[in-house]
Point group: C2
């Protein structure tokens, strides 16, 4: 049986990542010593209190004094300032960013870590923990061990990756999530703006994802680009002629598919 996780966690930030990790920690009985809220007026703090159901504070020193691990879950650009303000702190300090190097926490020498959830997280939209893989990094093996133990306690799979690997995973995530979602948003627009029902394309979206999860998505690439079906491509570009941005995007993506296919064949 795994050891009980009895370290106290302080959270900095009130965004999507903070909301999810606080929820997961509480669900698993991990002690959350508090959430740091910066410059919040009373009414905002009251609504945040509702949202987080843990003590809110604007006192970083007090929060860190009562925490064994501080998790900085703020925008990338705001991380360094918090890290500097925690210079005297003796516990583990980690950030939750996909693209920031662990060196951003260099003040914390052997007690720096990264706890990055590789998932698209929205406040108020809970996910089962096994669908949130945590990419862990530590300036010391002991930090990695403690952060992996924390991930395990809340039911999340975890993997140790370097800052370089995490950065690449973040690039992959932008393609797999953000750019994919943009493609679906455009498809949605095309259907809606021609007064058709978007549920018509939902089976196609479900099947596209199912197929892609079965192996290398390039092996199941279909459509006019991979067939080099110039007639259909021309018809589509003609249909998009009044939306130059979309037309250019269609051409760029079509060329990219053809290029990838050519590389694959050689």
């Amino acid at each position: 049986m795994p050891e009980a996780f009895n370290e106290r966690i302080g959270i900095v930030g009130t965004g999507n990542v903070a909301w999810h990790i606080v929820r997961l920690f509480q669900a698993a009985g991990v002690m959350v010593s508090g959430v740091l809220v910066r410059n919040a007026d009373k009414s905002r703090r009251s609504s945040l209190g509702q949202r987080f159901k843990v003590p809110l504070t604007d006192d970083l020193n007090a929060l860190s004094a009562s925490s064994d691990i501080m998790i900085i879950a703020v925008n990338d650009t705001a991380i360094p300032e918090i890290a500097v303000n925690l210079s005297d702190y003796r516990g583990i300090v980690c950030h939750t960013s996909g693209s920031c190097h662990i060196n951003l926490l260099r003040q914390h020498a052997a007690r720096a870590g990264v706890f990055y959830p590789l998932q698209t997280l929205s406040t108020g939209h809970p996910l089962p923990p096994n669908e949130i893989p945590i990419c862990v990094e530590g300036s010391d093996p002991q930090v990695v061990k403690r952060l992996k133990s924390l991930a395990g306690t809340i039911g999340c799979p975890s993997i140790e990756v370097s800052s370089k690997e995490r950065g690449l995973l973040h690039v992959a995530a932008v393609f797999a999530c953000n750019f994919t979602n943009h493609m679906l948003a455009i498809a949605h627009d095309v259907v809606i703006s021609n007064n058709m029902d978007t549920s018509l394309i939902h089976p196609l979206i479900r099947e596209t994802m199912q197929k892609a999860l079965g192996g290398d998505p390039a092996d199941v690439q279909t459509g006019p680009a991979v067939r080099k079906d110039i007639d259909t491509i021309s018809k589509h570009l003609e249909l998009l002629r009044e939306q130059p941005g979309l037309k250019m995007l269609y051409e760029t993506l079509t060329n990219s598919i053809i290029e990838k296919q050519n590389i694959k064949k050689t």
Copy 2:
């Protein structure tokens, strides 16, 4: 109770669409009079016979003589020739293309139709019929009625759309399926080529799709582009510097997301 569907169907073509519709027709007890195979040598015909489990023929006249509806499920460019060769045929003639106008079958005047499955279909990969919406069109209301009845008999939802609307749905399908799959293929490559396990990004892909199916995907757009997070975008472009094609694609998609967001706000 719906009337039994007792028309005989002849199929022209042996590709992905032909495989799926033959399978669905047979599963539902619809009579398939045969599948036209062009210029097939004996060994190829034998393997096709295994695949389709219906009579194969290379005689278009004989096939049409024993069919009430002829479905031309071939590449777009090959449709006109088949249509011309069926000039004397008195039954319904339809094609299964997303982007070809019904006028391509103009020889068939009041007996022309379209039976377009809005799905990504691969031979040997069966799908439940309720996941294959059929876009139906007819040169006459009677044709529409019969094709909708055929779709209903095999358990597929159907909708009547014009050639113009079908063309637009096909454009939407290219974004929702082909371009989406290409994004997932690139993400897969980035992970694999850095010796990481692609299953790491599968929860993210599942959640991206789930979220997108819940409404307008633009409402759940996340990532550096929509945040205009220039620091992260620059880091990603730096990581892609040795892959100029990918780098350009990343920039184009990022700009497209920012542009869409700006339009949304105005």
